[in-house]
C-alpha cells in the first residue's frame, strides 16, 4: 500500500514540475524579445503542459483508486477535499486548479521567476538537462505509463535542451553585458539545482520497485552536461555547494503562491467553468 501512495507522490512531482515550468514559460507569450522566440518559447511551454496533462490524468486515476481514508490524508487543500469527500472522482483539472501551495510537489527551481531572458533560459537549461537524463532512465521503468510518457517526452526535451543550451552559449559568449547577465542568472539559480538529483524516501522506494530513477546516477551526467555548456559559453560554474530544498515535500518559495493565484483564478472564481 505504501507503494501506491509513493507512486502517486512520484507522479505528482513529475507532473507539477511540468505544469509550473510550462506556466512560467507561458508568461513570455506576447512578451518575447523577438517574434520568432515568442513563438518558440510558447511552443515549448505547450510541450510542458502536454506532458503535465498525461501525468495528471495518470495521477487522478491512481488517486481515485485509493480508499477514502487514504484520500483524506493525501491532500490538505480544502477545495479539492470538497470534491472527493462528496464521493466524486477527481480529474486532471482538479489536480491543476484546486490544490494549494503545500500540495504541490515541484522542485523550487521551476517556480523561480522569469526575471529576464538570461534567468529564463538558465532555469530551462538546468531543468532540461536534468529532465533529459531522468526521462532517458525512466524509459526502463517497470511502470508502463511512465515508460510511455518518457518516450514521448524525450523527443521534446531533446529539442528544449538544445534551445536552452544555444541561448546560454550565445549570451554567455556574447557581449560584455550579456555575459554579465548570464553569469548572474547562473550564480543565482545554482542553489536550486541540488534538489533535482537529491534522493529522498519516495525516490528510494520507487527505485527499489524498479519504477523510479536512481538520481545518484543522473547527478554526474547532469553536472557534466551543464558544465560543458557553461564552459562553451565562457561562463564560470559556481562552486558553492549549499543547496535549497523542500519543493518535493511541498515546502515552497513565496513565488508559487503568486503563480497559482494567476493560474487558478478562473476555476476558483467560476467553479467548473468551461470555454
Amino acid at each position: 500500500m505504501a507503494k501506491q501512495i509513493d507512486l502517486l507522490d512520484y507522479t505528482l512531482r513529475l507532473a507539477d514540475n511540468e505544469l509550473i515550468i510550462g506556466h512560467r514559460l507561458s508568461e513570455w507569450c506576447g512578451h518575447g524579445p523577438i517574434l520568432e522566440q515568442d513563438i518558440a518559447i510558447t511552443n515549448i511551454a505547450l510541450d510542458h503542459l502536454g506532458q503535465a496533462r498525461s501525468l495528471y490524468q495518470y495521477a487522478a486515476e491512481q488517486f481515485n483508486h485509493l480508499t477514502q481514508e487514504e484520500k483524506n490524508k493525501f491532500f490538505a487543500s480544502a477545495t479539492l477535499q470538497n470534491v472527493f469527500t462528496s464521493g466524486a472522482s477527481i480529474d486532471e483539472d482538479d489536480l491543476a486548479y484546486l490544490r494549494d501551495v503545500w500540495d504541490f510537489r515541484n522542485v523550487l527551481l521551476v517556480e523561480q521567476p522569469n526575471k529576464d531572458w538570461a534567468y529564463t533560459v538558465c532555469r530551462s537549461l538546468f531543468y532540461d538537462a536534468f529532465k533529459f537524463f531522468f526521462y532517458t532512465e525512466l524509459l526502463k521503468s517497470k511502470d508502463e505509463t511512465f515508460a510511455a510518457v518518457a518516450e514521448k517526452s524525450l523527443k521534446e526535451v531533446t529539442y528544449h535542451l538544445r534551445w536552452s543550451s544555444e541561448w546560454i552559449i550565445r549570451l554567455g559568449d556574447g557581449t560584455d553585458e550579456s555575459h554579465e547577465k548570464m553569469q548572474a542568472a547562473v550564480n543565482d539559480l545554482w542553489m536550486y539545482t541540488g534538489e533535482l538529483t537529491a534522493m529522498d524516501d519516495t525516490d528510494k522506494t520507487m527505485l527499489s520497485h524498479g519504477i523510479g530513477v536512481d538520481l545518484a546516477t543522473i547527478q554526474p551526467l547532469w553536472q557534466e552536461r551543464v558544465m560543458e555548456t557553461l564552459k562553451e559559453a565562457t561562463l564560470t560554474t559556481p562552486v558553492n555547494t549549499w543547496m535549497q530544498g523542500g519543493g518535493k515535500e511541498g515546502k515552497h518559495s513565496e513565488h508559487l503562491g503568486y503563480i497559482l493565484a494567476e493560474l487558478q483564478f478562473m476555476q476558483r472564481a467560476y467553479p467548473g467553468m468551461d470555454w
Binding site: P33, L35, E36, Y159, R170
Partner: protein, 100 residues
C-alpha cells in the same frame, strides 16, 4: 528608434524553404529574423513546422537571393506565350512509343 529596437533590426532576414515530405522539393515558406544560420533553422522549425508542415528546412540569408526585375517581365516572360510546341503535349506520339 529605441536602443532595443535598433538591436532587433540588426538581426538579418532569412528566407525559409520547407520540404513537406520526403521526395518533394523544398518550397519557399516565408522569412524570419535570426542572428545566424543555426538560429534561423531553429526559428524556422518553431515558426513554420509546428503544424507538421515539414521534414526538412533550408534557410538562406535574404541578401543572397537575387531576383529578376519586375519591369523586365514583358521581355523576359511574354515571348513564351506563343511557343506551345515547347510543351511535350504538343506532339502526337506514335503508338509504338511506350512509357512516355
Amino acid at each position: 528608434m529605441s536602443q532595443e529596437n535598433k538591436h532587433k533590426s540588426e538581426w538579418p532576414l532569412w528566407e525559409v524553404f520547407i520540404r513537406s515530405k520526403a521526395g518533394l522539393d523544398h518550397k519557399h515558406a516565408g522569412s524570419l529574423h535570426a542572428a545566424d544560420a543555426q538560429m534561423a533553422i531553429e526559428n524556422a522549425r518553431d515558426v513554420y513546422t509546428r503544424r507538421m508542415e515539414g521534414v526538412s528546412i533550408w534557410v538562406v540569408e535574404s541578401k543572397y537571393i537575387h531576383a529578376s526585375d519586375p519591369d523586365e517581365s514583358e521581355s523576359l516572360y511574354d515571348p513564351a506565350n506563343d511557343k506551345v510546341y515547347r510543351h511535350p503535349t504538343f506532339y502526337n506520339l506514335p503508338d509504338e512509343v511506350k512509357y512516355m
